[in-house]
Structures are given as structure tokens and as C-alpha cells.
Amino acid sequence: MSNHYLGFGLGLRTPHFQDVLETQPDVDWFEIISENFMVAGGKPKYYLHAIRERYPMVMHGVSMSIGSTEPLDKDYLKQLKQLANEVQPAWISDHLCWTGLDGINSHDLLPLPYTEEAINHVAERIIQVQDILGRQLLLENVSSYLSYTDSAMSEWTFYNAVVERADCLMLLDINNIYVSSRNHHFDPETYLNAINPARVRQFHLAGHSDVGTHVIDTHDHDVCDSVWALYRQALHRFGPISTMIERDDNIPPLQQLVDELNIARQLAATTLQDRSVREVAYS
């Protein structure tokens, strides 16, 4: 087990701030949305620091816009670095996507075309960001609803190539793989099996909305059976990887999320036991 393994975490969300402090739930670590704490002070910062004193944390950003063709936002990166100095996170992540152009932010995780041009562009920017932050960045695969006719390769080929070229790490969102596999009609296991295990540092799990013709990544439901099944596959392939559940809408009481996280714990315990038995048998 690598020394990067944090165990099982949750996304830290405002409605749970007080509860986390009072009940000190059995959660190994919390992931914060970096932008939510890019404020000067007050309640958000108070809870952030108080909870950080009790739990390990990782920082997860939503607007680095690493894939955009506008210049990197140095101001944003400065704020991110400042926040990292305060929080001392185990790592910092964002998404393999772009979020805006010409100073306008869409606040959405927009997909990139899977081209050689995009690989070069994104990898070069990741290198710059890693240089500024003084650490490796984790990039997450996003849920997508469209693909471009320009794309010359699969998403997983693109993802692997960017990460290799930039020497960064992967935050593999299992739910996003499922969502995109439904929307773009690929086999999610093919995706998992193509990913380079040496690069995977964290997993995300989340719920989504299935509208039949397609699936939307809403983070407003429990993790569904298909995603649990895919998580089991991921555990088989990648071994123990720090796992957390994201919930951003229709947020239930904290204990309900802790219970859901315990399903992940349980699944990991049995799957990883099988895996080690199998490894011993084959060795």
C-alpha cells in the first residue's frame, strides 16, 4: 500500500460543517472545493481550519481551466497556492477539461477534443502549473455529453497521453467513466483497463441522473449499483486507492453519507482480499 493512501473520504459541504465538528464522524479525510474557500475569512474559513485540525484534506478545484486556449490565470494560481499553504493538503486536483475563454467562465467542465494538438497544449500547461504550485497535480476525467468530430483517439488514450507527457497524476472518477460510457456508448471496463495504474492517486464516486437516452452527472443521488460494480472492477485493477463520495445536491444528513462511504469500505475490504488471495495463488 503506497504512503499516499488516505482511506475513505467525503466531500466537505457547507450543510455538514457544524456536524463534522460536533460528531467527528468516522471519515478518514475530506476533500474541499478549493474555490469555495478562496474568501478572506468568516464562517467558511473558520470551519475549514477547525476541521483541518482534525482531518487530513485534499483540495479539488473546478476552474483552473487547464485545457483552455486563453492564458493561464496567474492570479487564480496564486490564490490556489495560498490556500494550499493554509490547508497543507495531501494533494491538489482539478479536471482535464476547460471552463472558459476570453475572461468568461462557463462554470462548467467542458470537454476537449481528443487530438494531438490538445495533448500538447494541455500537457504544456500542466507542466507550468506544477511548476508554480511546486507539486504534481491530479487531473480528473469529466463526465461529458458531447464529443467532437475532430477527436482522433479515445478519451482514455488521450487521458493517458496527457498524464504521461505532463508527468502528472490521475483522479479517476468512476461515476464519470460510467456516465460518459452511457453517453458515448463505450465499454467502461475497456476504459478502466486502459488506464495506467501507476498514475492513479484517487477515486471519486457519485450519483447521477439517468434520463434514459443519456445520463447526467448531477451528484444528487446515492451511488448506483452499476457504479458500485465498476468501482469493484477498479479496485481489482488498481488496488487500494483513496476513495471519496461527492455529493453536491439534494444533500442528505452527514450520517447517511458516512453509511454510504461504509459501503465503499466494505466493498474495498472484500475485493482487495480476493485480489491478494488471487495474487498469492498466481505468484
Binding site: 468568516g42 473558520y46 476552474s63 490565470d73 467562465n105 497544449h121 458531447l146 467532437y148 475532430d150
Partner: protein
């Protein structure tokens, strides 16, 4: 030659911001066509921004009612794309938008109500700092009094408004019928208390004048002159002391300083 990556991004932004569908030629169609796929992003874009306006301006929403609030939301999203990395600031330009919009500017209290809600938010997450105590004040040698200046808590703001929007806000918050809009000069002090809750209270004209005096770097001797000139107080010094003790007790004062260093807080207007 323009890169195709840049071009796609321009086309995508055009689709989100202006409904331009040029990008659809470059979107893969299968079980869903390009327009259907694009519209998932177009819908999501507006939903996210709508949610921010809704969350940040609940009282304004009550005040306007569903139809007008809907008009505000749709108009604002069309007119003001986000220039921010964090959605926390998306509605910062809302009061200005409302002041300039041909329809909403006919009812200027609406922009003022929005400005008050922004003001509350700004105090909510303004910088932290310890407040000075009454003991600190008592320890200041008499000789230092005239040149004494104040540094206020970063969350403290003066909200000057030509309308009774705070009364309107309070009534709606308590789920009462709001009073009719009225032109009236009002000054409110907004700040965050020791429990990190945002509070506000109205400032008497003299208190407002003195807060402005100190906010602009004035010292106690100037404040005492103002009191002497503008009130019937028998002792300007006593009057000032009473005021300073009240402000200290409310946690408004961060620091008592001597000399000419520039002030750190400017009033909002």
C-alpha cells in the same frame, strides 16, 4: 492558422452565451443528435447561474415575486456572463445591472435591495481579525488621545441608501408584508459579530459622521471638534468616549493606532 482547439472553444462559448449553434457541425451525432447534446450544456450553463442568483438573493426574489424574479434572472444571465473563477462573485455586478436596466431602473429600490444583500454577503466572508478591547482603550495615555485613529474590523461596512430597503428586507425576512418603497436617507452599519454572524443596525447621523471621519483617517481631536460643532453635548470628550466604548463592545474596532498611517477600510456607498 487558427488552431482548431481554439476555434472549438470559441464556438462552444458562443453556443453557451448566445445560443449560436455553429459548433453543432463539429459534434458527433448518434443516438442523440448534435443539437440535443449541445443543449445539455446550454441548459446546464443557465441552471448553474440561476441557482447562484437564487441562493444569493432570496429576499430580492421574495420582493419581486416569481414573474419579475424570472425576468431578472433571464435578463442578468443574458447580459452578464461570469468573469469570476468562483460563483461567489457572480452576482457582484447585479446591483449595477439593476440600476442600468431600462425596466428595473424605474424602481430604484430594487437595485438598492440587491446592493444590501451583496453587502451582507461581503461582511459574511470578509477577513478575520481580533477586535480591540475596552482595556486597550483605557490603557492609552491622555497625551496620545488627540492623535488616536481607529482601524475597523474588515467586515464593517457603512450602507448608505436613499430608500427604506433595509426595512423592506427585514419585513420580508420575517415573512411580513413589506412596507411601500420610500425615499429616505438611511445609514446602516453592517458587520460580522464574534459568533461570525452578520449583523446590521442603523447609525444616527452623528454616529455616521464620526464613523466616516475615522474611516477616512480622522483622529480623536477631529472627532471631538465634529461633536462640539454638531451636537449640544456638554463634553465632547465624554460623548466620544461613550461612542468608542459602544463600538468596542460591538467588536467594530480592530485596532487603536497613533499617527498618520492611512486607513484600511473605505465605506461602501
Amino acid at each position: 492558422m487558427k488552431s482548431s482547439l481554439h476555434q472549438r472553444q470559441q464556438q462552444m462559448m458562443q453556443a453557451l452565451l448566445h445560443g449560436n449553434d455553429e459548433i453543432t457541425q463539429h459534434i458527433v451525432c448518434d443516438t442523440l443528435d448534435a443539437q440535443q447534446r449541445l443543449s445539455i450544456y446550454q441548459t446546464g450553463y443557465r441552471l448553474r447561474l440561476r441557482e447562484v442568483i437564487d441562493n444569493d438573493h432570496p429576499i430580492l426574489g421574495h420582493y419581486l415575486g416569481d414573474t419579475l424574479f424570472e425576468q431578472l434572472i433571464e435578463g442578468y444571465i443574458d447580459a452578464v456572463p461570469s468573469a469570476f473563477r468562483s460563483l461567489r462573485y457572480y452576482c457582484d455586478p447585479l446591483p449595477d445591472y439593476l440600476s442600468n436596466d431600462p425596466f428595473f431602473s424605474q424602481h430604484p429600490q430594487i437595485a438598492e435591495l440587491a446592493r444590501f444583500e451583496r453587502c451582507l454577503l461581503d461582511s459574511f466572508d470578509a477577513a478575520d481579525c481580533d477586535s480591540a478591547s475596552t482595556t486597550t482603550l483605557q490603557q492609552i495615555p491622555a497625551a496620545d488621545w488627540p492623535t488616536l485613529q481607529l482601524r475597523f474590523h474588515p467586515s464593517l461596512q457603512l450602507f448608505n441608501t436613499p430608500f427604506n430597503v433595509v426595512d423592506i428586507w427585514q419585513a420580508l425576512k420575517a415573512e411580513h408584508l413589506p412596507p411601500a418603497p420610500q425615499q429616505q436617507t438611511a445609514c446602516w452599519v453592517v458587520w460580522r459579530n464574534q459568533e461570525r454572524l452578520t449583523e446590521f443596525r442603523s447609525a444616527e447621523p452623528i454616529e455616521q459622521t464620526l464613523l466616516n471621519c475615522f474611516l477616512q483617517g480622522g483622529d480623536c481631536s477631529l472627532a471631538a471638534e465634529i461633536i462640539a460643532a454638531q451636537t449640544n453635548a456638554t463634553s465632547a470628550a465624554n460623548e466620544l468616549l461613550t461612542l468608542l466604548l459602544r463600538w468596542l463592545a460591538l467588536g467594530w474596532i480592530q485596532q487603536l493606532v497613533h499617527g498618520q498611517s492611512p486607513p484600511n477600510v473605505t465605506p461602501v456607498n
